[in-house]
């Protein structure tokens, strides 16, 4: 019988995004499943986030100078390129080269033995390719987008008022000039 990991594993990434909502995050997503890569990019394509997608970890490492804040990595990455390194190894390389980077593993596998294997490289965050997790990430992205939009709406009256004041002053200057 398969053991399902506890809930704390599910929401690590969502919490990270929530905690960093005031920052412009750079996110790398690495997955050889192009449909899921596309799906996750769409979900995280929030205006203040820069999202980069890669089908292998090696390709992502070529862009390491961008210094991502968050890296989402699929565990099995060698189904297209059989020589490609798997997610645990790529995660180690990112941790060595980008100190402080937050790493989350993407997995379609909920078996606890996989989690135990992964514990050797200390993955705090694991995203399962399921409805619950994807939905939670969307919720967080939506909340951020909504807050950003409200913030912009708050400034609109001030911008309008300022524009009127500038125009009024310009008219006054032109009148005085004449």
């Amino acid at each position: 019988m398969e053991s399902i990991p506890s809930e704390k594993h599910y929401y690590g990434v969502a919490s990270f995004i929530e905690k960093n909502k005031k920052k412009d995050l750079t996110i790398f997503i690495i997955d050889d499943n192009e449909a899921y890569l596309h799906l996750l990019k769409q979900i995280l394509d929030y205006e203040s986030f820069s999202v980069f997608t890669f089908t292998t970890g090696e390709e992502a490492l070529e862009y390491i100078e961008i210094k991502p804040d968050l890296v989402l990595i699929d565990f099995h990455l060698n189904s297209i390129d059989t020589t490609a390194l798997n997610g645990d190894r790529i995660a180690e390389l990112f941790k060595q080269r980008v100190p402080g980077v937050e790493i989350a593993l993407i997995s379609a596998d909920k078996k606890i033995n996989l989690i135990s294997e992964l514990n050797n490289v200390n993955f705090k965050n694991i995203i399962y390719k399921d409805e619950k997790t994807i939905g939670k990430i969307i919720d967080v992205s939506d909340t951020l987008a909504e807050k950003k939009s409200k913030k912009l709406n708050y400034f609109i009256p001030f911008i309008v008022l300022l524009s009127f004041t500038i125009i009024e002053n310009l008219i006054l200057i032109i009148k005085l000039w004449n």
């Binding site: 449909a35 899921y36 596309h38 769409q42 059989t82 379609a108 939905g135």
Partner: protein, 122 residues
């Protein structure tokens, strides 16, 4: 594996929508991506059979499995799960062929669904 269950397993847009919190624009764009990806996956499976690479087949099965759960096609997803440990013997090849026969109809279902959506938007 009951072939009838696979034949009767169809795309469930409601399941997909619940995955993406009802965001239709994400569903449409991912479906477009999926219809291309599924064809490519199918070709990769055929290549792995021709080259007698069971390890690669298992790896592809693992990769594509969540796509079918996303489409609400749990029986096909479970077939992929079985293929994660497949051997290239008669039994294994039968299971692979069931999947290969199913993929074109899945792509067709997605295409019909997206064309209908475009039609109703006009």
């Amino acid at each position: 594996m009951n072939q009838q269950l696979i034949t009767n397993d169809h795309f469930q847009p409601e399941t997909f929508l619940s995955f993406v919190n009802g965001k239709k624009e994400i569903m449409w764009s991912t479906l477009k991506e999926l219809s291309t990806v599924l064809v490519e996956d199918s070709l990769q499976i055929q290549k792995a059979i021709e080259e007698k690479k069971p390890e690669q087949l298992r790896s592809i099965a693992h990769r594509i499995k969540p796509n079918f759960f996303l489409l609400g096609m749990n029986e096909v997803g479970n077939l992929c799960k079985e293929l994660e440990t497949v051997e290239l013997n008669d039994e294994g090849l039968d299971k692979i062929n069931i999947l290969l026969k199913k993929v074109p109809s899945v792509v067709q279902e997605i295409e019909v669904f997206t064309i209908d959506k475009l039609y109703f938007q006009l």
